[in-house]
Amino acid sequence: MTARWRRRLTVWALLAPALALLVLVFVVPSLDLFRLSLSWTDPGRTIHSDLSLTNYRNFTTSAYFHRLLWGSIKLTLWLTAGCLLLGYPAAWYMVHARSKTARTVLYAIVVSPLLISVIVRTYGWVVLLANNGVVNWALTVSGAVDKPVRMLGTFGSVVVASIHVLLPFMILPIASALQDLDPVLERAAQNLGATPAQTFWRVTLPLSMPGVLAGTALVIALGLGLFITPLLVAGPLQPLLALGIYYVTLNQLDFPLGAALSFVLLVFTLIVLAAAARALGAVNRSAM
């Protein structure tokens, strides 16, 4: 056996277990799901497996599905804006923390949600936002409101809880971009007479754009697919594509339609990621 063949054999032997697992539990199920999305369910709930675009046609024509899609887009816009607004200052603060201990603690606060099940974090928001929850208690005691405000079940509660779930994915890439930024550049700008605001807008922000873009892409891609958090804080009927997939499949038991909606969601996610990859490429080229 030649050395080249032995090397090739080694590589594929090392990769074989991972590839076997992924093919069996990821690739084949995805292809099966796509095939299922081309079947259709008649009103008597019988699934017909002749190839048909019925479900996709329904998606493009039905106002109900447009509402779901628009809900998802609206949510991701809110999530992106919210995570940027909260995440950028938080990342900056963390990177510029004075002591090493302070920085470690701040990193721990940002990373810890990633290690805590999404169900626990979301449940925390249920405790905060319930009619007899913490926020309503604080509002009532302070006299801001007379009786509890209904917060669970609203679009706003989905936005707040989802921002909480996704914020680390925005903070960490921005922090890593700010970390790599040479402080000499900011000082040079200031020595040349730039005000702190000018330094930020013309030096710091442009140089941290790769982090901002990476974070934004993650927040949008993950935000489109969120379903446990909206389900718990607002119920399955909240108009969101991911919840629609859940509802159509598990409540209406229309598997082919759920499969088709899944692929619509997947395509939107991939478009976002591809656009982000392009934008990142453009930013990196212009930085050189």
Binding site: L128, I228, L232, T269
Partner: protein
């Protein structure tokens, strides 16, 4: 500008309060003596921890989740370490495709992966089985083990392995006595992430588990959604404390800044 700077710092601190708020609230609520959700708490008590301990349903879920984690972690770790080593150390055709495929489950919306597995596992009779959950969790955790071990392989100087070889070690000896010990930080971090993600996994679990495979996160979900049980606060607190402990381990191991 100084006032603006102070305002910005204050705002940033509020963001950290926001990040902590739901976790702190759950920990406080777990010590509430009342048997429904009230604020402020009516007296401190550990009764919900005792209730948890004494409930067959909760302990059964706890055991199930531990069992799944105990199988999934070594599985994802071994499979992931081998793949990470191949991806860093060798050049071969299709490398980008393989790397993309391994990371794909991270990008796939969880509801879509869940529905896909629900569909395929139904046909195979794997719904509501331990095997089904283990396979599902393995796919979800694999990207994490590959990514974390990759960092360590990249930092591993190939000269050390060559040195061992030229001193007469066979490939097995090189792997067990040189390569693996040097990969330890990444491997341990990978194990921690795999374990914590499998233990808390719900996106896929919700769709492929069933009445006889109610994992801990699934039971919390069911009780939050359908019939409230104050013991949820106590279980959730265990999750929070576990995360605090593991964060400290990860920081000592490779530093939090580098993981992220």
């Amino acid at each position: 500008m100084r006032a603006g700077g102070a305002a910005l710092n204050g705002f940033s601190l509020l963001v950290y309060v926001f990040l902590l708020a739901p976790l702190v609230v759950v920990v406080l609520a777990s010590l509430n003596a009342a048997n429904y959700l009230t604020f402020p708490p009516r007296g401190l008590s550990l009764r919900w921890y005792r209730a948890l301990w004494e409930s067959d349903l909760w302990t059964e879920s706890f055991r199930l989740s531990l069992l799944i984690t105990a199988v999934v972690t070594p599985l994802a770790l071994v499979v992931g370490t081998l793949a990470a080593y191949a991806l860093v150390r060798f050049e071969f055709r299709g490398k980008t495709a393989v790397r993309t495929l391994i990371m794909a489950p991270l990008v796939m919306p969880q509801i879509v992966l869940g529905i896909a597995l629900l569909n395929s596992f139904s046909a195979l009779g794997l719904i509501n089985t331990l095997t089904g959950l283990i396979l599902g969790h393995a796919v979800v955790t694999l990207p994490y083990t590959v990514r974390l071990v990759t960092i360590s392989v990249q930092n591993l100087d190939p000269a050390l392995e060559r040195a061992a070889q030229s001193l007469g070690a066979n490939p097995w000896q090189v792997f067990w006595r040189v390569t693996l010990p040097l990969l330890r930080p990444g491997v341990v971090a990978g194990a921690i992430f795999a374990a914590i993600i499998s233990f808390g996994e719900l996106g896929v679990t919700l769709l492929i588990a069933g009445a006889s495979t109610t994992t801990l996160p699934l039971r919390i979900f069911n009780y939050t959604e359908y019939n409230f049980d104050p013991a949820i606060n106590a279980v959730s607190t265990i999750f929070v404390l576990l995360a605090v402990l593991l964060i400290a381990v990860l920081d000592r191991l490779i530093g939090l800044v580098r993981i992220s």
